[in-house]
Amino acid sequence: MERFSTVFLIAGVAFFGVSVFVMAWMPFVHMRDIPYQPLEQVSQEMIPEFAQLAEMFPDAFKRYYPAGVTPVSYAKALRLGRDIYVAEACWHCHSQYVRPVSNESIRFGPVSVAAEYANALEFPQLFGTRRVGPDLIREHGKHTNDWHVAHFWNPPDIAPTSVMPRYPWFYEAAPTEAEPDRYVLNERGIAIITFVQWLGSWLEEYPATLYNLNAAGAR
């Protein structure tokens, strides 16, 4: 037990192998029959918010997404949106799974299941381990595009206590004094909002949660 070969082979290799077998291989085998959706498949069904972004920013949209409101442009925006979500480490402050505990299904929506993550945009998955801001896996439609456009510019403008950073590099131009409400998104801005609006868009119907209860004045 004190020889190099024993330590190296049993503790080092074999015990590690056991852990990978039990903790990685078995879950993998368990879940491998879940059909995997490549990006081409995910992008077939477009969310209405994407078409609305094209209407809101016609010039910018045409410039960056010349294919128009098509699955090709949608796939491009989703891919880029996910990459930005990763690059800006959004997933370190926003988780992407609803747990069956702590009243989370009331706050956010239906509890997450494994099949929701078997696609190109959750590869690697973005479960996250911390919630400074709320969970985003049921984000689809909770806020309007307008809300996101103003929010990414400066979150405390919308939610005064927010500690979310600002992202002025998602915009072509800053709102001016003359036109304080004129935000123009750039390629990245359109992409990140498309990606965030996509999260949870696969649900059959829009779930009743704390958010729409609050909106109805039931807080």
Binding site: M1, E2, R3, F4, V7, A11, G12, F15, V18, S19, V20, V22, M23, A24, P27, H30, M31, R79, L80, D83, I84, A87, E88, A89, C90, W91, H92, S95, Y97, R99, V101, S102, E104, I106, S112, A114, E116, Y117, A118, N119, A120, E122, F123, P124, Q125, L126, F127, G128, T129, R130, R131, G133, P134, P156, T161, S162, V163, P165, R166, N214
Partner: protein, 476 residues
């Protein structure tokens, strides 16, 4: 063995020194990253409109430089010092060790620039940019920087370098430290390959999450922990000038840790869509680890019985044992927080942030700092410039860490209960603000402590002596 040691010294002290300097330098940068990120929580971030210093990216700098800059360099400094002494043989490579050292610093630098340029991977603790990502969006093209592959090649060479003296050592039974080191190198290589390539290229969704959980945990449990404990088994008996209390407990501690620690990973994603049997298994193994840890901690505290004066008189020993108390605290905490009941409240909150700071810095960081305090005068050949500054360093760091831990634990409980009570999200932010302020203040204490230490190291290396300490004539 004399022919070999005659041609070159057993330990390349210059290399140990360089590793300590690199470790400290990355550490200070990382701390500034953590400090700036904490200001974002107070709505006081100093560079809100600078893309390259976006808070999310700076957070990645904080964690990745701690892991790959501070901890790796610091632990390797200890290993470079200890392994040749334990085996009686120098490392395999001589000049090539220096090349490996510089390649490693280049890797950390590429990680630093890659993360700030927006080229992170979506793998926690493994955000190190990977090149050759098909279809990836590059803010600045960094496909020429395949950091992950460089790390694997570099680490294999490092392993060969440090394994050689262990394998060539004449004695058949290895000392405890060498068990930990021998297992640690192969674990780290396997862990890195598993965690950085499988979820990235082969395992989407929840199956990838299971592997990512293993990676997050194994990086701490199978790299930092064995190297850290190995160094403790080396330095503690050496400084106390007596053997470890029980060899039997050392054996139990090592083998049980080796078995249970790798099985913990999935506990980072409890109540997630990962199959429940994996989650139950991870919970039980995590509680088992606590039992194991108790045997190791008992062994070390039984060793110091009768030598308590070292805690007062010997700063490295004080660092080591303070960290061991923190180690026992975090592991005990872990056995509690890992249960599915407690997870309901504390997961996703600052509780976890407090836990990870205590284990990564309060334990392993403290051990590395203790090793630095111990080795720096030997490496420079000079007495400490001002020993009193080292005491300031210890107390600012230890008290800062203690405050930060409890502050974040309490903040986490408040956040968790408010979320469960369906309070508006804004309420959890309002409740957290005072705790985030205390976090920044306690973090500032830690940072000031490290700058004091760096200053003391710098002056010591220059051979200076504080006026306070040169009044008595030096013995020849």
């Amino acid at each position: 063995m004399s022919s070999q040691t005659a041609t070159r010294p057993l330990v390349d002290e210059g290399l140990v020194k360089a590793m300590i300097i690199a470790s400290m330098a990355w550490f200070l940068i990382s701390l500034m990253g953590g400090f700036f990120f904490s200001l974002q929580f107070l709505q006081a971030y100093p560079f809100p409109k600078t893309e390259l210093l976006s808070p999310g990216r700076v957070r990645l700098i904080h964690t990745n430089l701690i892991a790959y800059g501070f901890l790796v360099n610091g632990l390797l400094a200890g290993l470079t010092w200890a392994i040749p002494r334990l085996t009686g043989r120098p490392l395999l490579f001589n000049r090539f060790s220096w090349l490996l050292f510089w390649v490693w610093q280049a890797i950390v630098l590429l990680t630093f620039t890659g993360l700030l340029a927006g080229h992170a991977q979506a793998l926690e603790w493994g955000e190190t940019p990977t090149g050759f990502r098909p279809g990836a969006f590059n803010l600045t093209d960094m496909t020429w920087a395949p950091v992950d592959i460089l790390v694997v090649i570099g680490f294999l060479l490092v392993s060969i370098n440090y394994y050689t003296p262990i394998i060539l050592s004449k004695s058949k039974a290895m000392y405890v430290s060498l068990w930990y080191f021998s297992a640690g190198f192969v674990w780290t290589a396997l862990t890195y390959v598993m965690g950085n390539f499988f979820p990235e290229y082969f395992l989407p969704g929840a199956s990838g999450a299971a592997v990512t959980g293993l990676f997050i945990h194994d990086l701490v449990g199978l790299f930092v922990t064995p190297m850290g404990w190995g160094l403790m088994y080396y330095f503690v008996p050496l400084i106390l000038k007596k053997p470890i209390w029980s060899h039997g407990l050392s054996l139990i501690g090592f083998w049980a840790l080796a078995f249970f620690y790798p099985l913990n990973g999935v506990h980072h994603f409890l109540w997630s869509p990962i199959p429940m049997y994996a989650q139950y298994g991870a919970v039980i193994s995590t509680i088992a680890v606590e039992v194991v840890v108790t045997t190791v901690v008992v062994n070390f505290f039984a060793t110091i019985v009768g030598s308590g004066q070292f805690l007062r008189d010997n700063l490295p020993i004080r660092w080591f044992y303070t960290a061991m108390i923190f180690y026992f605290t975090t592991c005990l905490q872990c056995a509690v927080q890992v249960t599915l009941t407690v997870q309901k409240i504390i997961h996703f909150t600052d509780w976890v942030v407090g836990h990870s700071h205590l284990i990564m810095f309060g334990v392993f960081g403290f051990w590395i700092l203790g090793v630095m305090v111990h080795l720096w005068p030997k490496l420079t050949g000079n007495e400490w410039y001002n020993p009193r500054l080292n005491h300031w360093h210890f107390w600012l760091t230890a008290v800062g860490m203690f405050i930060m831990f409890w502050d974040l634990i309490i903040a986490g409980l408040i956040q968790g209960y408010e979320w469960q009570a369906l309070a508006p999200w804004e309420q959890s932010l309002i409740s957290s603000t005072p705790f985030w302020l205390v976090r920044t203040i306690s973090g500032t204490m830690i940072i000031v402590g490290q700058f004091i230490f760096a200053y003391n190291m710098w002056m010591t290396a220059r051979g200076a002596r504080s006026r306070l300490y040169v009044t008595a004539p030096q013995a020849a």
